[in-house]
């Protein structure tokens, strides 16, 4: 397919504009001017429409078919979210408008933050980070700021089963990364953790359930080890979909975390995004959050009331969670001044405009910035319309729906795991030694994960199949494309050879999962009789197999 620039014909136009009746303005500073006019494509409206229509026909998304890309939670994005986020009250506003004209938008930010706090068991939060890794990075900056105030610490511990963004975020924030080996089921090796922890340990970065889709039952002990050494616990919210409404990271002992609205809370990924990676934290870290935040004025006390703290409680059926979550409308006042971590500051001075605050109205907190804040990591409230979509999702599901989504996500993953385990095995062979020198010790006494119940995703290995037939995890993934299914995540986590990681999510039907499992089975059977056929896949796509080496080494990114 030709690029739109290649289809351009000089002086061809979409729209015929009338003569301009505005006098031409000549810029005085020629440095601001282009030397030559911008090279823009020139097409008729019809050619333009056909170009984008053809492009969209080549795209594949959740709306097109099954998309079991592990760790990405490619759940359906309800159209209701889009409808609500497209309301002019949300789209035609600017954060610097007078606050009286922004109350609805501020309430949306406030409410989503409140609900996220309740779902995660945290005390405060910011919606500013624009993506998951950005949320990780923001959290690392907050942890760094905390230790600049409380005795500098330099190390972040990351298990070798972690998402690759974890060590990257820690390194970007200036920490040195200590890699600890995991057990074969991806869980934390407690002895290795104890050996790695010392007085320089700033934090452990962990996702639970882990990247093999297994809930780490030692999380209480892990927290104890890290907290005992004076370190903090960071929760990578990538896998929150498995546990939301069931157990809260705040109760597992985590101090700070990010959530991915584009995963767990049904907002679009990638090109259809943008993403959003809010950061939630316990009260003692609130002073370091980016600014501004939205607060709600409570007239009764004349000052914002001190917000309720989410007490750590390892009991997953914590009654306060059951009671408080989503009940703000019932009593009209359970959401008290969520983002007001500094009751000692005179909040009226923080106001950008000086009109009086009405009871229950929303205002910008953190203006001017608190002195310990890490500063801004995005503009205002980040990707605001994404937050509106996530809020629509949370409100539509409610407390029971959130829990139900997590349960069905786990059910779907286990159903598919059992189907797939008939022909692909879970042989989590020792990790490639280049990634983990000690894994041969780590995998002792650990059952293969596929034999145990998984959470929202599961990992199988094509290593045996590759050994027997030469057909690799990559080949299976490519062959799935020909069968109308998006490939699963491949070669991750690194501790499993020839890994294929499936996450069906709760929004897929039994029929869809049955079809996908049948397609996989057919691929594996074909691999055993006619491996070359699988190795040639995909045959039905405009592009077959891109040259990944050349793409990595000699990318052509501009014309």
């Amino acid at each position: 397919m030709r690029l739109i620039f290649e289809k351009s014909v000089k002086d061809r136009e979409c729209v015929v504009l009338p003569e301009s009746d505005i006098p031409e303005y000549v810029f005085k500073d020629s440095r601001l001017l282009r030397d030559a006019p911008a090279e823009l494509p020139e097409l008729s409206e019809l050619d333009l429409v056909r170009h984008y229509d053809a492009l969209s026909a080549r795209a594949y998304g959740v709306d097109s078919g099954f998309y079991p890309l592990g760790s990405c939670t490619m759940k359906y994005n309800p159209k209701l979210n889009e409808t609500l986020a497209a309301l002019p009250g949300f789209t035609d506003v600017h954060p610097l408008q007078n606050k009286d004209s922004l109350q609805g938008s501020m309430e949306a930010v406030f409410l989503l933050t409140e609900y996220l706090k309740q779902i995660t068991g945290m005390d405060d939060g910011t919606l500013q980070p624009a993506a998951g890794a950005h949320g990780e990075f923001t959290s690392m900056l907050i942890i760094k700021a905390y230790f600049e105030k409380n005795g500098a610490r330099t190390k972040i511990i990351v298990p070798d089963s972690a998402h690759g963004t974890n060590p990257a975020s820690a390194a970007m924030a200036g920490f040195s990364v200590v890699n600890v080996p995991s057990r074969a089921d991806g869980s934390v090796d407690l002895d290795a953790l104890r050996a790695a922890v010392d007085g320089q340990t700033a934090a452990l970065m962990l996702t639970n359930p882990n990247t093999l889709g297994i809930f780490d039952k030692n999380i209480g002990e892990i927290s104890k080890i890290i907290h005992g050494a004076g370190g903090l616990m960071y929760y990578d919210g990538a896998n929150l979909n498995a546990v939301m409404g069931k157990i809260r990271p705040g109760d597992m002992g985590f101090d700070i975390m990010h959530v991915n609205l584009h995963k767990t809370f049904s907002t679009p990924h990638g090109g259809g995004g943008p993403g959003s990676g809010p950061v939630l934290c316990k009260r003692f870290l609130s002073e370091f959050l980016p600014y501004p935040l939205v607060g709600r004025f409570e007239k009764t006390s004349g000052l914002p009331e001190k917000p309720r703290e989410n007490k750590a409680d390892l009991n997953s059926s914590d009654p306060s969670f059951e009671r408080n979550f989503m009940e703000n409308k019932a009593d009209g006042g359970s959401l008290k001044g969520g983002s007001i971590p500094h009751p000692d500051r005179n909040f009226l001075e923080c106001e950008a405009d000086s009109s009086p605050l009405k009871d229950g109205s929303f205002f910008y907190d953190f203006l001017p910035p608190p002195k310990n804040s890490i500063g801004k990591v995005g503009s205002f409230y980040g990707n605001f319309l994404v937050a509106v979509k996530a809020l629509a999702y949370v409100v539509a599901l409610g407390r029971r729906g959130i829990k139900d989504a997590a349960e069905k996500a786990v059910l779907n993953a286990n159903y598919m795991r059992v189907l797939v385990s008939e022909f692909l095995d879970s042989n989590t062979n020792s990790a490639c030694a280049h990634e983990s020198a000690n894994d041969s010790n780590a995998q002792k006494n650990t059952p293969p994960p596929l034999n145990s119940v998984c959470m929202h995703e599961f990992v199988v290995s094509a290593e045996k199949l590759k050994h027997e037939t030469g057909v690799s995890a990559l080949d299976i993934a490519k062959a799935l494309i020909d069968r109308g299914i998006h490939p699963p995540t491949m070669y991750f986590p690194l501790i499993v050879h020839e890994a294929l990681m499936f996450e069906p999510t709760e929004t897929e039907s039994k029929e869809t999962i049955d079809q996908a499992a049948a397609a996989l089975k057919e691929i594996v059977e074909t691999a055993k009789t006619n491996p070359e056929k699988i190795k040639r896949a995909p045959l039905t796509t405009p592009v077959g197999r891109p040259d990944e080496v050349k793409a990595a080494r000699k990318p052509v990114v501009a014309r």
């Binding site: 690759g164 062979n429 020792s430 490639c432 030694a433 280049h434 990634e435 020198a437 041969s440 070669y491 690194l494 050879h497 990944e548 080496v549 990595a552 080494r553």
Partner: protein, 118 residues
């Protein structure tokens, strides 16, 4: 060339001065197509059992652990333009040559290494 092997899939040429160090064909196969190799500088010291280089493949970035302690006297600069030399012939595509002071404990013969690689 008399090679010895580490459990983390590196090889070192024994009895040569300086000694060539590389990764095994098994490691290359596991990593997949190599797209970038990050090597230490000539004159730097590397330590047995510690990472000294990074190999980036289409799958992942992997650390390479040194089977020896010593001073790097030469790096294989051909890998900058042709990192896939490692995939083509892992035993010719050495990463560095080292003025060896000590070997890692437990280095294996080819026969022993054959048995542990899986």
């Amino acid at each position: 060339m008399n090679l010895k092997f580490s459990a983390t899939h590196e090889w070192v040429a024994i009895g040569e001065t300086p000694a060539a160090v590389g990764v095994t064909d098994f490691a290359a196969e596991q990593m997949g197509d190599v797209v970038f190799v990050e090597l230490p500088e000539v004159g730097s010291k590397i330590f047995a059992g510690k990472p000294f280089a990074n190999i980036e493949s289409v799958k992942a970035v992997s650390e390479v652990f040194s089977p020896v302690t010593g001073l790097v006297v030469e790096v294989n600069s051909a890998l900058a333009d042709e990192p896939d030399l490692i995939n083509r012939d892992a035993f010719s595509a050495y990463l560095v040559k080292v003025e060896t002071e000590a070997y890692e404990d437990g280095l294996m013969t080819a026969e022993e290494y054959e048995k542990i690689k899986k």
